[in-house]
């Protein structure tokens, strides 16, 4: 198990190398240059060229990549933003923290609401307890999150004037953005937990347990739930990764200074250091979350723990 964890963490190194390369490569394809973005239309071409040169933007792809990595590894320096001249981590970390908070709140809401509801629909199949949450989940899963966000904004901020439409200054400002992120995943969790539960309820060993005379309650809580939760846990981890990456919509709508909006905004400025650092931070988080999921998984199901000693990570 420990070897596995160490291995996974070591794999962060090629991940960071790979991610940075992919980003340099992808940004290389897009039009425009940071010099022109920063100086604006009025600057002379010479001035733009000179600035691009100073920023090191004109270097060939590989040279840029190697230089960046050298600085990162030797000095732990993620570079300076082309655009704001700030050390990138000054910009990236506070915004990442914001997104992480929202994602964690989102994941907690969607798990605490979605999973029990999903279990309920499975246990009480073909009753009102099944139909109403199922149908709701169905509809909510089909609404684009930005439409949802717009509706939330209209209803809670404008019509009811209950929640602030801006930023994260007070605790209630967290409600709408995290709801906007959580609702689609909650809907998904309901559906996923339901099918996972149904499958597990009908599995052979459950029939055996029933045949042995265990009460329906014991059967569901002791036997079915445990097996049903395994795939659910994996999904929660994956959702978390997806949330961090996909937060850009609610960040935009609710004027939340998160990392998704930062990266998307800076693509137009070709602010390579910020985009790369932001993506690296996201990748590391993603890897760590997946690792945590694996560890939890192993705790819940000791069979899997045994497996890790055999399977290569």
């Amino acid at each position: 198990m420990y070897r596995y964890i160490v291995k996974r963490i070591l794999f962060l190194i090629p991940t960071i190398l790979g991610v940075a390369f992919i980003i340099y490569f992808v940004l290389n394809l897009t039009p425009g240059n940071p010099g022109r973005s920063i100086l604006g239309a009025n600057a002379s071409q010479e001035a733009v060229d000179q600035l691009n040169e100073e920023l090191g933007y004109n270097d060939p792809l590989l040279v840029k990549y190697v230089n960046y990595m050298k600085k990162l590894v030797l000095e732990g320096d993620f570079g300076t933003s082309y655009f704001t001249k700030q050390p990138v981590m000054n910009e990236v970390l506070p915004r990442f923290w914001v997104t992480l908070q929202l994602s964690i709140i989102g994941i907690i809401i969607s798990t605490l609401v979605g999973v029990p509801l999903g279990m309920l629909t499975a246990v009480k199949q073909y009753s009102a307890w099944d139909y109403i949450p199922s149908i709701l989940a169905f509809l909510l899963a089909a609404i684009p999150s930005f439409v949802l966000g717009m509706v939330l904004l209209l209803v809670f901020s404008l019509k009811l004037n209950l929640l602030p439409s801006y930023g994260l200054d007070t605790w209630d400002a967290y409600i709408m953005p995290s709801l906007c992120m959580a609702i689609p995943i909650t809907a998904f969790n309901v559906r996923f937990t339901k099918s996972s539960m149904l499958e597990s309820i009908r599995a052979d060993y459950i029939d055996t347990a029933r045949a042995k005379g265990a009460t329906e309650r014991t059967v569901i809580w002791k036997h079915a739930l445990k097996n049903a939760l395994l795939p659910v846990i994996t999904n929660i981890g994956l959702n978390m990764g997806g949330l961090i990456m996909g937060a850009v919509v609610s960040e935009r709508l609710f004027s939340v200074p998160g990392i998704g909006a930062l990266i998307v905004d800076r693509i137009n400025y070709k602010d390579e250091p910020v985009i790369i650092a932001g993506t690296i931070v996201i990748s590391i988080t993603f890897t760590i979350i997946m690792l945590i999921v694996d560890i939890i998984y192993a705790y819940v199901d000791p069979r899997i723990k045994a497996k890790y000693t055999r399977i290569k990570g």
Binding site: F138, A142, F188
Partner: protein, 300 residues
Amino acid sequence: MSNTVTTAVPAAQEPMKFKKPSQVKEIWRRFRKNKGSMVGLILLAFIVLVLIFADFIVPYEDGIVQNLALKNQAPSAEHWFGLDSYGRDLFSRVIHGGRTSLGVAVLATISSCIVGSALGAIAGYFGGKVDMIIMRGLDIFMSVPDILFTMAVVVAMGTTFANLIFALTLAYFTNYVRLVRSQILSLSEVEYVEAARAGGSGSARIIISHILPNAMGVIIINTTLNVAKIILYESTLGFLGLGMPPPAPEWGLIISEAREFMRTAPHILLFPALAIVLTACSVNLVGDGLRDAMDPHLKS
């Protein structure tokens, strides 16, 4: 939004066979019994028919030609869905926009399915170094936010039908690699594959004629459910200003144009949003029905 594996099919499941006509019949019989799925199927069939025959229902030009004097007009007998912020017929825009939106979604799903399945099959079948390279590459690829890829492709190459499909494929193929790989891993030890291998069949042949057909069930279910996700993701792209170039209609684009007027002319937002919800719902219903029908475990 995420490119992560969110398959509704637990990985440890028995491979589902999807081969003989009698099985197809059996699946259809079970599918038919599911009321929800039949509603979804009928709804989806209706939507697809409307989109195919869009030109007979309302001319494309109605959704293109502007009449700014009447901008934001509410729905009326003449314009069922009202007019948008350029005074274009919203009914025509929603219907013709659906062609683009659904077309892109379906084609992107198919292409990501093909690319992902091929990679997954190769990784799973050959194992060893090949497997390791593909899977580690995939891990790195997956940790780059897909919105970044999509934006970069669209910004670099322009927003055309083909580029949107390419961009969405990049964001979604990863799902299939893991899925198909795990299927292959469990299948390659199955007897008939061993037999084929012993019989001297080539690798490609074994993958194509023996393994893939058996992994088909899982792939189909996943594909159906993915279409809905891609429709949503694509509309998000439109919202972020990365949709098709104007004046071509597209659901996400219509909604992003509607945002400015969501308080003064909510109908512009309402109809394309309804179209997205209905389509995604019906696709999901069909997908769920297929899953239930193909997997007798789940049905009592």
